[in-house]
């Protein structure tokens, strides 16, 4: 009985983990290329969630179609914030970029709060459920999981097969060398930042399938912390590492929830969030390059 429940929860964990992984790829991409930690990461996820909500409730647009729309909105936001703020801070001390991205996050939260209000909202997308033996999975979650995998694959192909992708990779390897070879380094920075934000906003769409009524301007904070744990699991600067980190984190979160629920007199949900913080510290302490890296 317990084992069955655990397996069921772990399957749910993998499905959620794939989406978590995709939601962290943008963070890792931006850190990998620009060496900037986007502390306002969660706010961009929130923007994606509100985009979905608005498209669905006001225009009746299917959340699947909202993914590319959110991605374009995110790219736009990314370019705006890059050229107004981040560009001037690339060479500044870390303090400056940390605080700048943090403030951008607050700014987005406050703008959304002003437009939509601060109460929790949700939308109702009915697509049925599927029974896969150990657990019952809503189709929407399955779509989110498959969508995340497709996006991760597309990003991989973009990096490996396109000229722009190789330009970004060359900047990561050696920005001076890339400049000498005629790569537009500033352009690669701007593109990577915009791409990272675009991925993050798009992931916000997919995450809403897991929290149908949990959309709120301040929902991003929890995801920022989770994204940091995941990014660190995957080595912080590798988007693919982040994807697998997400899978691992989904398993840790759901597995530990099942175990904590066995202890009487505690609140298992709060304890899983504490555990994610402990995981973060432990990995930073023993292997800051990430569990999945070979370095």
């Amino acid at each position: 009985m317990f084992l069955e429940q655990l397996t069921g929860n772990l399957v749910q964990g993998i499905v959620l983990g794939a989406v978590y992984g995709m939601a962290t790829m943008g963070l890792s991409l931006i850190f990998g290329v620009l060496k900037v930690v986007n502390v306002g990461h969660g706010a961009f996820i929130m923007v994606g969630a509100f985009t979905t909500l608005w498209l669905f409730n006001a225009l009746g647009i299917n959340p699947i179609i909202a993914v590319p729309i959110a991605f374009v909105i995110g790219m736009g936001l990314g370019f705006i914030f890059y050229y107004t703020t981040m560009q001037r801070l690339i060479k500044a001390p870390e303090l400056a970029t940390l605080l700048a991205t943090f403030s951008i996050g607050i700014l987005l939260e406050e703008i959304v709060k002003l437009t939509f209000g601060s109460e929790f909202r949700g939308y109702n997308w009915v697509v049925g459920k599927i029974n896969i033996g150990v657990t019952v999975l809503p189709m929407s979650k399955l779509y989110a999981c498959i969508g995340s995998m497709i996006i991760a694959l597309l990003l991989y192909l973009w990096f490996k097969k396109t000229r722009a992708g190789s330009a970004v990779r060359s900047v990561v390897e050696d920005s001076e060398g890339a400049r000498v070879c005629g790569v537009n380094v500033g352009g690669a920075y701007a593109l990577s930042f915009a791409l990272g934000i675009g991925l993050t906003v798009a992931s916000g769409v997919l995450l809403t399938m897991f929290i149908p009524v949990g959309i709120n301007p301040y929902m991003g904070g929890g995801y920022t912390l989770k994204a940091f744990v995941i990014a660190v699991l995957g080595g912080l600067s590798s988007p693919y590492g982040a994807f697998f980190g997400g899978l691992a984190f989904g398993l840790i979160e759901n597995g530990s929830y099942t175990l904590f629920a066995l202890i009487p007199g505690v609140e298992p949900f709060a304890l899983t969030r504490f555990l994610s913080f402990v995981v973060l510290l432990v990995i930073l302490l023993i292997k800051p390059t990430g569990l999945l890296s070979s370095k």
Binding site: F31, I106, E110, V232, E267, F274, L284
Partner: protein
């Protein structure tokens, strides 16, 4: 001997500002509430500046130290209330407990996080307040998410009148003393080996290390000192002024943001900065909340971005630069 005294000249403008605040609050009726808020922000800035300003490391989990300080005071009052004849002594025990708890937490966090640099440090600290909050709620430590309420105990121990005087007046005076003490410690550090070591490590940590400076030691000193003052501010401004404590309220990242704004606005690493930042921030927040309620953060977020991009030195940093060769220079650092 004379040289010893001139070393402490920069405290004059800081203490003058605090004295003025006190006099305004005491003599103009209706101003005490504003003055109390300004004192809180100045103390918060002064405490945070010891770490953020002097080391250049960003601690996003700073509010956790205020939170455990608040719990220190709350626990002392709730657990020791049944002992007869403690009287005001219980407050002193509360402060000792607050100091002890913030020291222990900062040692635990520092031992892990201070091994990390720059971005990794910030990432490690961003979860400290959330992590601690969820530990308290999840494992139901100290009454879990129900929190601790101790108004009744405070009234019982001190008597109703004294307790109310403590909440509305004396707590603010204690905050004033903490702020002044933090300013003194800041200057003491600046004028000692610790300050020089911290300046060296803020400018270039690797170079400082090569020069034989034990950077970890000085970082930990700054971290723990800053955390202790945060614990004291929490114990006074939160536990004594409003005698209850709930985890989501005292581990709210909002206060870390406020502390960062204050320090940056005034000028990170300067002595007068937190006072200037605290006053500017506090006064603008007070009047914004009257005229444009709910818009404070919307206005402050772009302000931080503008400060970082255009005036990374802050108000006092700029003032210092302007007055570099004048007679006032020795009063402003």
């Amino acid at each position: 001997m004379k040289k010893e005294i001139t070393k402490y000249y920069p405290l004059i403008p800081v203490f003058t500002a605090y004295l003025f605040l006190f006099l305004i609050g005491k003599n103009i009726s209706g101003m005490w509430q504003l003055v109390a808020m300004l004192l809180f922000y100045c103390a918060l800035g002064q405490a945070f500046n010891i770490f953020l300003g002097m080391t250049g490391y960003v601690d996003f989990g700073y509010v956790a130290f205020m939170g455990v300080g608040t719990y220190g005071m709350a626990l002392a009052i709730t657990k020791l209330a049944h002992i007869e004849g403690l009287g005001i002594g219980i407050i002193i025990i509360g402060f000792i407990l607050a100091l002890l708890m913030s020291t222990l937490l900062s040692m635990a966090v520092g031992a892990v996080a201070l091994r990390l640099r720059g971005a990794y440090f910030a990432i490690a600290t961003i979860g400290v307040n959330e992590g601690f909050r969820f530990l308290i709620e999840g494992a139901r430590i100290w009454n879990g998410s129900e929190g601790l309420i101790f108004t009744a105990q405070l009234n019982e121990i001190l008597g109703r009148n004294a307790a109310s005087a403590l909440m509305t007046f004396w707590a603010d005076i204690i905050v004033l003393i903490i702020a002044a003490l933090a300013a003194f410690v800041t200057l003491f550090y600046m004028r000692s080996k610790i300050g020089y070591a911290l300046t060296a490590l803020r400018e270039d940590e690797d170079a400082a290390k090569v020069m034989g400076i034990n950077v970890t030691k000085y970082k930990i000193i700054a971290f723990i000192t800053s955390a202790c003052f945060a614990g004291l501010v929490g114990a006074t401004s939160w536990a004594l002024k409003t005698p209850y404590v709930f985890p989501p309220e005292v581990f709210e990242i909002h206060y870390t943001i406020e502390a960062i704004i204050i320090v940056l606005l005034g000028g990170a690493g300067t002595l007068l900065g937190p006072v200037a930042g605290g006053l500017i921030y506090g006064i603008s927040k007070y009047y914004l909340s009257i005229f444009l309620p709910g818009f404070q953060l919307l206005i402050f977020a772009p302000i931080i971005i503008i400060i970082i991009v255009l005036f990374p030195e802050g108000v006092v940093g700029m003032l210092k630069y302007r007055l570099k060769d004048s007679a006032l220079a020795r009063f402003i650092i």
